[in-house]
Symmetry: D3
Subunit: 174 residues, 6 copies
């Protein structure tokens, strides 16, 4: 049994790790789909697809999770709903079902013939990517408790916390 | 004389039918342009281009309108205004003028050398696609009075009202 | 029972008419999918999507075929195979099966869960779009025997035969 | 020394002229990058890329600025930040540095290995494209004092002020 | 009177200069449209849009041609013919006619309502961009006689001749 | 030290495995970049990006290669050379150099500031993706000797050899 776990992972936090462990505990292999992979340097997507793959890999290794059972696949957005399932499916290995709590995502997956499962996903206000990004933006070091230590180290080493603070809520357009 | 009637038809309602009959009554043939045709499963565009073509065809048949005088053409969005007229024109049969009340659309059409006509279009708060979608979203069965009966039947048969309720105002992004 | 009949119709010829009649004769309704609809003014796609819709409509009326049972839908190309079926499906009314003799198209349709049927399609060297375009390019009036008379009339009225001769095999690039 | 001066120039105003003169005064040649060049007929981008090139050229000639030292290059948007610097760079002659006050643009330029300079740019609420467009929209002739006289003349000659008033804040979508 | 002169200028050669002087001699101002501007590092498009703008500007200055009467505008390809004229037109200042000998380009321009003029363009096998690129590829220094001296200097200074030789006829795909 | 190994892997063969082992043997970690990842069902790209990730993962596990030191990242094509390096870089973790023998790819990488290394790559006519695909197309079972056994098993299990034979050299266009 192989399951998709879809998210943007901006950045990966301990809530994600908790979910991954639960799915593995059910004897299901996992494909981690890193969505909106083409974006970076925006308030909602500060880290590039490649940086997020790097973070996730580091966290999986630090947590000693079984790499043979886990794939990490960055997938670009396609903003046309009727194509989304086919687009996403073409970038990942074969799978049996997908985890999601979002009703639209569930609807699109199911309309595309994919079994969804949502009850086992942890979802908390504290452990959310948005909360982590906000804390970094506000220079509140509490964010370091929400993210795996190896990822905190990478973010600081490459001064990515400064990037988030600089971007603020502005856009490229002048 | 052949005229464009441009809209998104999400879904076709009795106000549209009223307009079509008026144009036919002026001895003009009609090309119904179904805009934003690539979208579906969004709050503003719940139905796919193909579903909207299917609804319109059904309504035309039920109303016994003259099919030889009416074309239905789905057209995708092009979000670059200077290209919109050329884009739209390349997907439809030759025509003589276009109906629109929207000042920007009139400006683009006229800058592209197309005669516009707007006085004969019916426009009411009740008979609007947004109002119909809102009523469906709020599970208020009043919407069934605003939409041709054959289309009501199709929406219910394929549980598309449930789709609108599920989508709500969320987006695909997680 | 509703069936897709997919082609580029550059332009519609008597072979297409023959096929349409056969499918109607089996008590199946038809959706005529006009592929590569965004192109025009090329050697292989001289007529725009809208011009092709106009030709087909004219031929259907002249042949007194039942318009309530036939839809005509222009569909743009999507040059990414894993998305093609979802893309095409989102622009057309619901259907039950599709006609194709092309092994790749059959494979893509079937991989997308669509039943295909190919045995009833007529296919001849004479009645091919390429042959018609070549005859026009060579100023050989034999092409007028291969195309429905109403379509011949439209092509000549709007000097589209001259367009094909001018385009030749050159491209826009200078 | 050659420097980029990046903006949307909707339209060019006297603040831009002031900046250009300052940069030239530092013995730096200038490449004027006209961003969002594909857009027109929107509230924020009423003038096409070509119209903006025409305005800027007229202003440079009227001000007797040295044309051999100034290039004007329209550049389309690319809405993917990691690609923006490479995209923009591929459309302009070689340069040494770039002027910007926007923190995100500075970050993207510097992450792309480009030296930025921002201290010399004039920035005022009065001399802003948005202010000029708002005044035109409100039919307040004060805008004519903010824009070079030759550009005022072009805008009036081609009734582009009427275009802005017609567009208002609506969009093409019906 | 203002005229378009459309080409790819890979690179600008003495044939182009000859044409520009002829058009200026007829008292027409010129907009030089640099086509396929998004490409570089291919056998047919070795120089980026920005490099070609740089070459042309250098040649115009060296030849002491009147810069107030000449614009240089890079324009990206749009590979959909029905949109090409609108696309190109939106990036250039207003103009009165266009020079072209290519029958397809003439057809597209005229179908778009643009007057074309072709008799005055010089066209020779020797003075062609393809010939210049081939000579560079074959390390035959004869190419230096076909290109304005300032441009030869830039190509050598930045080792762009080596780029052409390295690219050969291969493509990026591995 | 972390190195890119760029290819299309249609499919992964023993030559690729040989290269991967060499790079690992130099104490360099590897990011396997799966190019042209959006394509499938074409003669040159029969397998989807996700299928290729699945094949590679299987081969790495069977060969007992160290997964913590190896990333697999599918990357879509971008057919504009000046953007290719930035595009590719944004989808992969940070790296130090890249392996390539292709002169154009080396040129693009080096123009983008990336160190390249090419001497250690094995390249043979027998161990090539094209040769493997041709053998499958010709129903010559010799291909099974060139591909890791676990991948042979997957190709046969899912009848992908039949897919290659069906596709032949045709295209989707009808």
């Amino acid at each position: 049994m192989k399951s998709l776990f879809i998210g943007r992972f901006q950045p990966i936090h301990k809530g994600h790790i908790h979910t991954i462990k639960q799915i593995l505990g059910k004897d299901e292999d996992i494909i981690i789909v890193v969505g909106s992979a083409q974006h970076s340097h925006t308030p909602d997507n500060p880290f590039s697809g490649g940086e997020r793959v790097m973070f996730i890999k580091r966290a999986l290794i630090d947590e000693e999770l079984p790499l043979p059972r886990i794939d990490i696949v960055p997938v670009t957005d396609i903003n046309i709903h009727p194509l989304w399932v086919s687009h996403m499916r073409s970038f990942v290995p074969y799978f049996d079902k997908a985890y999601s709590h979002n009703p639209l995502v569930k609807r699109l997956l199911e309309d595309g013939g994919i079994v969804t499962d949502s009850t086992k996903l942890l979802e908390r206000t504290t452990y959310s990517g948005k909360h982590v990004r906000d804390l970094i933006r506000w220079k509140n070091s509490e964010w370091e408790k929400l993210v795996p230590p190896g990822v905190v180290e990478l973010i600081k080493k490459y001064k990515m916390d400064v990037r988030i603070q600089e971007i603020g809520d502005t856009t490229t357009k002048q």
